[in-house]
Structure formats: C-alpha cells, structure tokens
C-alpha cells in the first residue's frame, strides 16, 4: 500500500488503502487510524453496518472479512487492505434475491428497529458457514457477541435455525 511521506505537526498520517467490498474494489487515502467500519460507512458509503459501542461488545458492526465474521470497529481499514469484505448490502444475489439468512429474518420476524440486524445477519451467515446444522444452544452461544434490545432474541434464533434448514434443503436438491 502506498503511503504519504512525512507528516506536518498536527497533520494526521494518511495512507492509501484498497479493499474489495462486496466484490468491488474501493481505494482511498485515509488516516492510518481509520477503523474498517468507518471506511465502509464513510468511504464506501455502505451505511447498513452500524456502530453500537466502543468496547467491541455489541456486534452491530459485524461484517465478513475473507468470509469470516469480524467486528469491523476493531479492525483497521489498513489491516484489511487487499482483502475481501462482505457487508449486508452484498449478501443478496446479483438478481436481488435475498440470502437464506435474510429471508429467514423476514419470515421469522427477526428484526424490529433494524439497527443491530446487519450485525446479526452477518454473524449468523458466518456461523452457519462453519456449523451448517447448529442446535439452538449452539446458535445462542454463537451470538454471545451480538446485542439486540428489541427482539429478545427469540425470533433471531428461530431465523438462524430456519436458514440452516433452508440451506440444508437447498443443498439436498
């Protein structure tokens, strides 16, 4: 990655960072301290991913980095330079069909205000990629890093299990 040499007193260190976000390369000069979540929201203009805390606790900022769920508030954009990032906006198919997890959230009423939802959808997408047929207990344990205040989690868990079933049915075809 390119860097800008030197820095004046008061000037912040800036470097060129290039990420592949939802299949598209996004390149920009950003401060070295830029968090991945802010790169996505402010540079890539993908605002579905939300910031909910400062202590890596709430999971609202969860995205996929090279296919694995990460909390994008605790990753520097620079650390993801050259890597693939998937956000909620990149989950639906090219023809606009929602993923199994997105569909399940809709059908199971897995969201109310929607603020935590992108984080949950990405976390569950990653969870199911690693564990395609989880038990309810495994789903609940797998969501310990995501906080929702509206739903009480009941329908989020149902959505995860429904998506797992749908994926299994699809794979069986």
């Amino acid at each position: 990655m390119d860097r800008y040499p030197g820095s004046e007193e008061g000037e912040r260190q800036v470097s060129k960072v290039s990420l592949i976000v939802n299949g598209k390369e996004i390149t920009a000069d950003v401060e070295d301290r830029t968090l991945l979540v802010h790169f996505l929201r402010d540079v890539a203009d993908l605002t579905a991913t939300n910031v909910g805390c400062e202590t890596t606790s709430c999971g609202a900022c969860t995205v996929l980095l090279d296919g694995e769920s990460v909390k994008s508030c605790t990753v520097l954009a620079a650390q993801a330079d050259g890597r693939e990032v998937t956000t909620l906006e990149g989950l639906a198919s090219e023809s606009g069909e929602m993923s199994a997890v997105q569909k399940a959230f809709h059908e199971q009423h897995g969201l109310q205000c929607g603020f935590c939802t992108p984080g949950f959808v990405m976390a569950i997408t990653s969870l199911l990629a690693e564990n395609p047929n989880p038990t309810e207990a495994e789903v609940r344990a797998g969501l310990e890093g995501n906080i929702c205040r509206c739903t009480g989690y009941h329908n989020i868990v149902k959505a995860a299990l429904a998506a797992a079933s749908a994926n299994t049915a699809e794979a069986a075809k």
Binding site: R12, T47, G52, T55, F105, C113, T117, G145, I147, T151
Partner: protein, 771 residues
C-alpha cells in the same frame, strides 16, 4: 375473511434487510452535505462549580470550526423567570420538567451535577477531529461533595440546587395511618430496591440540523417529531419555521421522547453557526447522559389474615430523579396509581418523595413507573404468602379482582376496564406444568441437590395510553390509481406500525397492503401528532387510522353511488376484494381508482384525531423457572411462560415480538443489569463491557400463550402490549430466584440477582438459622 388477526410478515423488512435502515448517521440529504460533526465536552466530575473553560488548545486543532460554551449562547432567548415554588401545593405529576430553582440548563452554566453533563460543544469537519479536539478543551472544576445514594440525598447535607433547602424536589404524602393493619394476624414489612438501569437502545441519541433561509430542519432519532418541534420552539422560532423528521430510529424505549437538551443544543449550533451539523453520541455518552430508568426504593408493609386474604398494603417510595427532574413526579405517581396491581385490597396507602442525586437524570423506560409497582406488589405477595404459610399461587387467586367485578375502580383511582387475572394465571400454571415443577423442586430439596429449581410467579396489570385524551391523528388518502396513503401521528421505532396500519386499511377498505403506503415522523407532512410511547399507538393511532378509513369509506360510498346513479344506501364495498357494487348485483363493480377518480382532485381523504375517554389496562401472568447453583450463586433461566393479554391481537407476529423483547428486558433487570456509581458519583458501568446487557446466550426461547380480553374503550377493542412483557417478566424472574433458595431461609435478594448476591444471601440465611 379479514386480514386482522392473521400472521402478516412486515412490509418494513425487505428494505431493512437488504439496504439497511437509514438512521440519523446514515442520512445523505443534500442539506447535510458537508455537515460539521458535533462532539460534546462533558463533565468528568459528579458535582462541581465550573471555574473556567479554556478553549485555546482545542481551537488550534485541525478541522475545528468552533468551540461553544454557555457564554456563546447570547442568541438564545432567555428562559422564563423562576416561579416561586409553593411547598404546600399538590405536586405536578408531569411529565413536565421542574422549573424554578430546579431548572436544568442546556450547556452547564456555573455548576455540573452529574458525570456526563454537557459543558461545551466542539464543531469539526470530521468525526475523528471532533474526538481529538474535544479532549483538549480544558475545564476547571472546584469539586463539591457528591450525592450518590437515596440516603445521601435525603440527609440533605449537600444540596444540588441553591435556594431549595433540600434535595427533595417533590413529594406526595401517603397518609400512612397504622389502624388499617389492626386485625391482621400476618404482617410483613421490608425494603425493596428497584434498581437504576440503562434504557440502552442500540442506536444512541442522534440529531442532525440545518438552518437555511430562516427555516430550521432537524432530523432526530425521536419517538415524536411533533413534540420535538414544539420543544425546539425554545430557540425562539415559531413552529412553522421548524421541520422535524424522524428517519429510521434504532429503538427508544421511552428515552427518546421528544428531544432533550443535547438535541436542542445541536439545533442551536446549526442556527448559531449557519453550518449544517450532525451529532451521533457514543455508547459511553449514551450510558452516562441519556436518561435512565427505574431507580426507586420502596418500604412496604403488607398485612392480612392467616388464611391468605390481604387486608392492607402500604408502599412508600423514594424516587431517584438523578441530577434533574426531567419528568417531575410522573413516574412515582404512576407507581402509586398501580400500587395494588391485580389485587382487591381493602386498604392501600402509597406515597413518594422525589430526590435529586448527582447522577444521570431518570425518565421513562419501558413501563415508566408501572414495572416498579408490579415488581414490588409481587414480592410483597410472595412475602405475605410465605409468612402465612399459604402457596403463593393460592394467595394470588384469593385476592385477585374477579372477572365479574369489571369495570373496577381501584382504591388508587385507576379505572380498570376488563381483566381475567385468574384465567391468565391458570393458563400459565397449566402450560408450565406447575404441579410437576413443584414436585421436581421438592425432590431436589429433599436430595440436597447443589442445583435447585426456583418457580416464580407474577400476575400484573398495567396502564396504557395514560394520555388517552390527547389521542392520535391519522389522515387516510385514496388516490385515483387505487393506492392509499396513511399519514400517522404515531412514530414507530421497531414496532411495525407500517404493517399494522396497512392491515387496518386493507381490512376496512379492501385495498391490498402492498398498495398502502404508511408515512410517519415528518412535521411538514404531519404537523399534528402525538407519537409512540406508553403503549398507545395501536389503540389510539390504530383507532385513528380505522376511524379515518371509515370516513373514507363513507365518502367513497357517496362517490360510488353517484357513479352507479344509485342510492347511497344501496351501495356496498366488498372489503375482501376492494370493489364497490350495488347490493345484490355483484357483476357490476367499481374499483377504488374509479371511485377516487370521481372525487375532487382525484383524491378521497379523511383527516381525523381519535381520542379515548380513558386508558386501558392490559394484564397477564408470567411464570419463570430458574436453576440456582447454590455453591456459586449462578442463576440460569430455564423456562419463561407468559400469558399477556392486550385484547384482540391484530397481528400475532408483531404482538409476539413485543412480548419477546419486553420479557428479555424485564428478565435482564432481574438478573444482570444495574447502573452503578462509586462513592464520588463516578459511573462504574459506562460501557457495554461493564454494563450487563443480556444476550441470547443467557435466555431461553419463551413460551407464549394467547389470551384476548377485549376492552370497550376503543372500537378496535385493543389495549397496548409494548410494555406489558417487561412489567410481568421482572417480578416473575426475581421471584423465581428467591424461590429457589427460600428453603434455605432466604427471604429476599435485591435485583439484580448476581451470583455474589445470591450466594451471600444463602450464607446469611444459614448463619441466621444456625442461631
């Protein structure tokens, strides 16, 4: 067959699930292009005089546009002069902030009274610059003693407000004569704390503002755009110079009613600098400077006969208001109103004192005063049952207001409309397998198992749409293309009103939901509206949509009649197909498009306000099953069974969702959540790493039973479900934990029932019984 009562998935979801919601921080309105970032400088000390503010270092930072303090607020109209406070006058029960010597400033003037109180505003080009610059604003404080606990406040050694003589801002005498307890063979007395908790919407407070050509536009994460506009007239602007828009709002729970002092300051900053601005608070600001909930200490006395009849109940409340009385006595006045809960108790005494402490102000939080009442009467009933030696389910049934007694006005003056308290309890006991659970509990007790079972019951009633007389507005339009638009004064922040109100239109007019657009939260489009809180939106907002739809139908009938050249009385709307025809002649029909096309301007419209003459009283029972590890005190919630009754269920999916969320918050208060301060008033739980927000890993799936007891207060027959789950869940879970260790001699454990509290209670009970 009507769509009402069927499971309809939400129309809101596809957008939220693919593009994501558009919250204040996501807005890309042209007016906000290049908006400055607002960062607040906040007090780091609980109580102090401000002796100086030095902006020089901050002003020298890159990207700083301005650093504003109270000294810059010369263009803000002065507040009205302080009114003399008559100490003997009956208290205002709000919800209105107290004025006079108790007044709350916008930016701190000469004093700070809680950690997190806003002291200065920094405007920068970017968010990152804002955080850098705000750190460098230097505020000099002359510390004063903190006033942290209820007892600190009551002692009054240090006063928060000069010229008041005490820290008790309001009180209502409970008339606590002792005679009512004469003749009670069983009397139990004790203290119960309903601890301070955070409201914790996942989106914190956020406000953006633009001042252009004499008009102020404010985008706010609010539960009421219209109320926010009214509040913002404090800037010295008339309402029609202000537009407030509520975009997607990431949760509110009562803490986003209107806009608060930061919201007013953000709007002022836009007007003052002429620059568009945007403020999005951090989580630590949210956990210290957004209003918090509960914070009551109760002294109770309950008495009755040894066969289990309750004769007298006294509830003496001290309400922690935090540093400012945002809602005056409103919260404890509701606690007093709902003190006896579902019980027909011959003598009820209830009163309160509101005290000021050097901590975050307390205001409405899901339930707002009613959870406190339910949580305590349900503990008191368990205490009474234990003392009388009667099963607590039996005691509840003996004392319930009976189905035949409705409508029932309680000793506190609450006009309960309809209820079936025994029915709800029976449903829950049956579904939970109560007898089997008690048998298993007995077996484990006899075996001395380390892991003991606790079964907790809560029967509750609560008041919704307390401001029924304010009502709600709705405008329904049918267009000449056959679509409809609903403008509602309600303001959803997750409740799914767009789906619910579209269902109402489809049910009444036959226009399919996918042709019904619902709009809310923009004062330019909806100048008149009340908003969403107090579980009022379906019963008032929905009834308004229903009323407007009926008026539209009546107008439609006129137009259809004229098109058919028939009498109005002979014209019929098939609500299933949305087609008009002459009665008995279904082959000739008119569509809504044709009927609206015949109206002036191609539009049929009805604009109404629906008011009700009284509030409604949803109710229910909840049963919680917990397992307590008696060696470590750890509590695991195994099952939670509820029957929450708010009348006919319009959309079971939405109804269940509200219950689930409410149960989780209620259980969280019983088990893990508490806002804590140290002895100097410094917050100890100002991050989500420290504050115990509950996750999916701590909760089971819930078992929801259906119970529908209609009200006669509104044409839909509905009450409000938004807060009921929370109100019932806290005491059910709390009672379960104590029940798990009651055989060891434990009588009470204050919430949250952390492992150390549970374990300590067990040790103390062991010591007491060893004596």
């Amino acid at each position: 067959m009507s769509i009402l009562g069927t499971r309809v998935i939400r129309t809101e979801d596809p957008r939220l699930l693919t593009a994501g919601g558009v919250y204040v921080d996501d807005l890309r309105e042209p007016e906000l292009d290049g908006a400055a970032r607002v960062t607040f400088v906040r007090s780091t000390i609980a109580h102090a005089r401000i002796t100086g503010i030095d902006k020089t270092e901050a002003l020298a930072q890159p990207g700083v546009i301005a650093v504003l303090t109270v000294a810059d607020m010369t263009d803000f109209p002065p507040p009205p002069p302080a009114e003399p406070i008559d100490p003997d006058a009956p208290p205002t029960e709000g919800p209105m902030p107290l004025g006079g010597p108790w007044s709350e400033p916008l930016l701190a003037v000469d004093k700070v009274r809680f950690v997190g109180e806003p002291v200065a505003i920094v405007l920068t080009d970017t968010r990152y610059q804002g955080e850098d610059a705000a750190e460098l604003v230097s505020v000099d404080y002359e510390p004063l003693p903190a006033v942290v606990t209820f007892d600190d406040a009551l002692a009054g050694e240090t006063l928060l407000f000069d010229g008041t003589g005490s820290n008790v801002s309001l009180k209502r005498d409970g008339a606590f004569e002792e005679a009512v307890f004469d003749g009670c063979d069983v009397i139990v007395e004790g203290d119960i704390v309903n601890q301070r908790v955070a409201c914790l919407p996942m989106e914190g407070r956020a406000v953006a503002a633009s001042w252009k050509d004499g008009k102020l536009t404010v985008w706010a994460s609010t539960q009421n755009a219209q109320l926010s506009r009214l509040i913002l007239t404090a800037l010295g602007l008339p309402p029609d110079a202000i537009r407030v828009v509520a975009p997607d709002v990431g949760g509110g729970f009562g803490a986003k009613i209107g806009v608060d002092r930061e919201g007013i300051l953000v709007a002022w900053a836009a007007k003052h600098t002429g620059r568009a601005v945007r403020w999005v608070e951090s989580r630590s600001e949210n956990l210290t400077a957004m209003t918090q909930g509960r914070g009551q200490r109760h002294h109770i006395k309950i008495g009755g006969t040894s066969d289990g009849h309750i004769k007298a109940y006294r509830l003496d409340i001290v309400q922690d208001s935090g540093a400012y009385a945002r809602m005056s006595g409103f919260l404890p006045s509701l606690t007093v109103l709902m003190a006896p809960g579902v019980y027909d108790i011959p003598n009820v005494q209830a009163g309160y004192k509101v005290v000021m402490t050097t901590s975050t102000p307390i205001a409405a939080y899901r339930g707002a005063g009613r959870p406190e009442a339910a949580a305590t009467i349900e503990r008191a009933v368990d205490w009474f049952a234990a003392a009388a030696g009667v099963d607590s389910a039996v005691v509840r049934k003996l004392n319930f207001i009976q189905k035949e007694q409705f409508p029932f006005v309680t000793k506190m003056g609450a006009p309960y409309d309809t209820g079936d308290y025994e029915g709800a309890l029976d449903k829950v006991l049956a579904a939970a397998g109560y007898e089997e659970l008690r048998a298993e509990q007995k077996r484990r007790r006899a075996a001395g198992d380390v892991r003991q079972l606790g079964i907790g019951l809560a029967s509750y009633v609560e008041i919704t749409a307390g401001d029924a007389g304010a009502g709600e507005t709705a405008k329904v339009e049918v267009h000449d293309d056959g679509t409809a638009t609903v403008y509602t004064g309600s303001s959803p922040h997750g409740q799914g009103h767009h789906t619910a109100f579209a269902m109402l239109v489809q049910a009444e007019l036959g226009i399919p939901m996918d042709k019904v657009e619902v709009i809310h939260g923009d004062t330019d489009l909806i100048p008149d509206g009340v908003g969403t809180y107090a579980s009022r939106s379906l019963q008032l907002g929905g009834s308004a949509v229903h009323k407007a739809a009926i008026e539209v139908k009546e107008e439609g009938a006129k137009k259809a009649a004229s098109l058919f050249e028939a009498a109005e009385a002979d014209v019929v709307l098939d609500a299933g197909t949305g087609l008009w025809h002459i009665a008995g002649d279904p082959d000739k029909s008119l569509t809504w498009a044709q009927v609206a096309g015949a109206a002036e301007g191609g539009l049929i419209v009805a604009n109404v306000r629906f008011t009700a003459d009284r509030p409604t009283f949803p109710f229910g029972s909840q049963l919680s099953l917990v397992e307590v590890d008696t060696e470590t005190g750890k509590v695991t919630l195994l099952r939670h069974v509820t029957a929450d009754d708010a009348g006919p269920i319009l959309n079971p999916i939405l109804f269940e969702g509200q219950r689930h969320g409410g149960i989780a918050q209620g259980a969280a208060q019983a088990l893990v959540e508490e806002i804590l301060y140290d002895a100097d008033g410094n917050p100890l739980t100002s991050s989500l790493a420290d504050y115990g927000a509950i996750t999916a890993a701590e909760l089971p799936s819930f078992e929801l039973l259906t119970s529908e007891t209609a009200t006669d207060v509104n044409p839909l027959g509905v009450k409000g479900i938004g807060e009921a789950g929370t109100i019932g869940a806290t005491p059910a879970v709390h009672n379960a934990v104590i029940d798990a260790v009651s055989h060891l001699g434990v009588r009470h454990i204050d919430m949250p029932t952390t492992p150390e509290r549970v374990w300590t209670a067990i040790q103390e009970a062991k010591k007491a019984s060893a004596k």
